[in-house]
Amino acid sequence: MKQTGGKARLQVNQNEGLIFEKSSEGKAAWKLPPLDVPEVDVSALLGAAERKSLGSLPEVSEIEIIRHFTRLSTWNYAIDLGMYPLGSCTMKYNPRVNEAVARVEGIANGHPYQPEKISQGALQILKTLSECLIEITGMDAITLQPAAGAHGEMTGLLMVRAYHHAQGRPRKKVLIPDSAHGTNPATAAMVDYAVENLKSDSRGMVDIGALESQMNEDVAALMLTNPNTLGIFEQQIHKIADILHAKGGLLYMDGANMNALVGKVRPGDFGVDVMHLNLHKTFSTPHGGGGPGSGPVAIKKKLEPFLPTPVLVTKSDGTLGFNYDRPQSVGRVRAFYGNFGMFVRALAYIQANGPDGLRQTTEDAVLNANYIRKGLEGAYELPYSTPTMHEVVFSDKLQAKKGVRTMDIAKRLIDYGFHPYTTAFPLIVPGALMIEPTESESKEEMDLFIESMKSIAEEAQEDPQAVLNAPHSTRVSRLDETAAARKPVLRWKPPSQ
């Protein structure tokens, strides 16, 4: 088996049990101030509703908590440790100034129901971010309310539905390319649209002929990711928009890959009617182990009456406030105004970059992806030779002959000190390796990545077992997912139970 280079290593030798296993009576990490009002008789106040026991919640000290979570943290890979080339997930650097400004007192502690008069700071942040995102997307209006990309998809499709309803022609289905994210069909089902698959052509783009034949007046919208999940820009985008619009359909753009376009081209200019953005992808807010995200939805003028309530407005006295009186609105999709803390971070990112910086960010992301594509061509099969933007998709066809599949290569990459790329997606590429470096990576880091991937390709031919048994360097390896799903153990139980 090969030596795996000099990348950052996780502390795999730490042992750390569950927090419950450290608990013992009398330990405490909390301290409340003395009560400055009279004590109350709990049972008198609550009667039968009084809780007697808190079960087996832990009792531990502060240093134990610090060590517990610090040790756990060392078992995680992170952008802060190295390249995280998950395609479509856009794992870029999360600037720390974003975290600092999100924690300024009035920003972090504002209450959503505090009077508008003393909320002008927060409202100004909403307004400025909205204006920036409208300009970046080339759209006419926006809602920041959706909590994540999939939630934005739902909001967007609800507006599509409301629009067709207002036209007096409710429609039944949405078209979704076979390369789409799983959230697209799941979302369509949530708003009660039938899903119709649209196949891709041999170049990895929407098959225009298929679109023409499938498009009719039952189709509410096409949900298109552009660039798509192969990293390919839909070169016939104007034609796609025309075909939809000619039959009264709308073009929905999944903005998961907007980081390939910012400052270079605007969806609003190429015919998109409604789109969502992922602030946690394109605009650098941290993924935090799976969230929080934020999924603003930008729209063209004709969809504006249907925006979720409330809508931010400038009032006659020049101050900002919310308008709740929107009779055609699709309603609320979330309590309050959205994941405000993420708006703060995204705006800080936009400010740190400005127009020049955002454009260069996009250029660097596309340049990096193409550098990796060039570096790995030959070592891995490239199923579509069409030019790619911010990500590139290879397949495991060359390695599969030796029984080595994309997931095995991904696991072996861990030994080389990298997080795996996205495996087995998009579905139209069997055994896909979907790689997205983002603009954050230096040439040095990418060279190390390319070298590692090439080394694994060699191993797959010469020593496939080394790849099949990977990872070798982690604390645990190849966890039994089947057993986990068959007999789910979803919580710790005290030994006596």
């Binding site: 009002v37 808190l54 100034v97 994540a148 959230t183 969230g291 929080p292 060039k374 997080h419 966890l479």
Partner: protein
Amino acid sequence: MLKAIGIASVDELFAPIPAEYRLSRDLKIPRQMAESEIVDYFRQRSRENGEGYTSFLGAGVYSHYRPVIIDSLISRGEFLTAYTPYQAEISQGTLQSIFEFQTMICELTGMEVANASMYDGSTAAAEAVMMAVRLTGRRSVIVAQSLHPEYREVLATYATHQGMPLSVTGFGNDGRLNLEALEKSITPQTACVLIQSPNFFGNIEDVAATAELAHKNGAMLVVSIAEAVSLGIVEPPREADVIAMEAQSFGVPQGFGGPHCGVIATREKFVRQMPGRLAGQTVDKQGRRGFVLTLATREQHIRREKATSNICTNQALVALMVNIFMTVYGKIGLKELAKQNLAKSAYAATHLGQYGKVLFAGSPRFNEFVLQTTEDPQEINHRLLDHKIIGGLPLKKFYPELGNAALWCCTELTTRTSIDNALKLMGNEASQHATGLDQEANEIKNEGKNKNQIKNTNREESGIAEVAR
């Protein structure tokens, strides 16, 4: 790099984009700013955003103390800058902490399984209802009017295109779900009844009686919990089939409404209809204990249009805050914390009640109460605001039938001094009406079902009020 790729300029990489759409100008956004300027900008916005005010607002977002180690720990890059833990070998930190989170939520709610996480309490409630619809094969939903009004709005949005008829059941004179009305509106088509406890007014619902009514009719009971700290002292809704929770109170900043942390907890037998991510315990090839994301066949990336939900990105880092908070307070601390909340709001209700009528006074409640006044609460709040106090939430917008009513909240962070100050400022205007109100308040007290309820008119302790007058 250009040379390696074999191109002369970066522009060539953008050639696939039709030229007529390529942007040939700068984006019209603010110019690039230095870090110091960005920090200044947000400090300025902070000063315009209620910085330094004392607040009596609750209504779904609560001001609790956040132990400093929460931010110390979640700021570690290994937590902050990691992705969803799909690659289990290098995500054990996140996975084990989710497993601990699930365990503690189960302990607190009395449920058998919990996910981590949903977007927030409102969307968790809507998703929990859709879960009940799938499980029962029925479509009608009954919602308590005492559920957070914005949660009701969100549910209405989710239900519109699911063919789920919604009906609302009102509250009785005790500010709790009207069980007689509920009994009349339950039908064989009712999939579930959705209530909140403590409800929007702070009152603790009779969960057992509601569950009995629902179950008798083959419907499920979904209970929303918006104030998680209540679980330290209030019996959890164990009779519920699904609990949809907002865990913001557990160490999450109010953040002008988000990001917060929704959770769904339920019985083991319903787990396959549950939305969202679950971490499960398993072993690796050497037999060592480890954790993985499990039951993924419920989720969109596997099932696409047949998934239980479209949720993908959730609130993981916020769930970690919640997890650390629960660990810090633990078995004893959480109870003591909840007791302080109870004591503070009881004190406030007693004293502020002198200038109005504490509605629903006979019902058990946690840290919120509704105060009805003769004066418009907006007017009272204007007066308080001049002294940097944000008064209770005026309810006219949501419950016009309650007249001049406002929802007040006290937590462990509310000082006696701030309650006393609010009292004085209220008294400035309202004292002339006080006598009549005392009378009304007394009547309410006598109607109260719970004989041990704290005295709300509080003639004996009127010393403070006299000072104020």
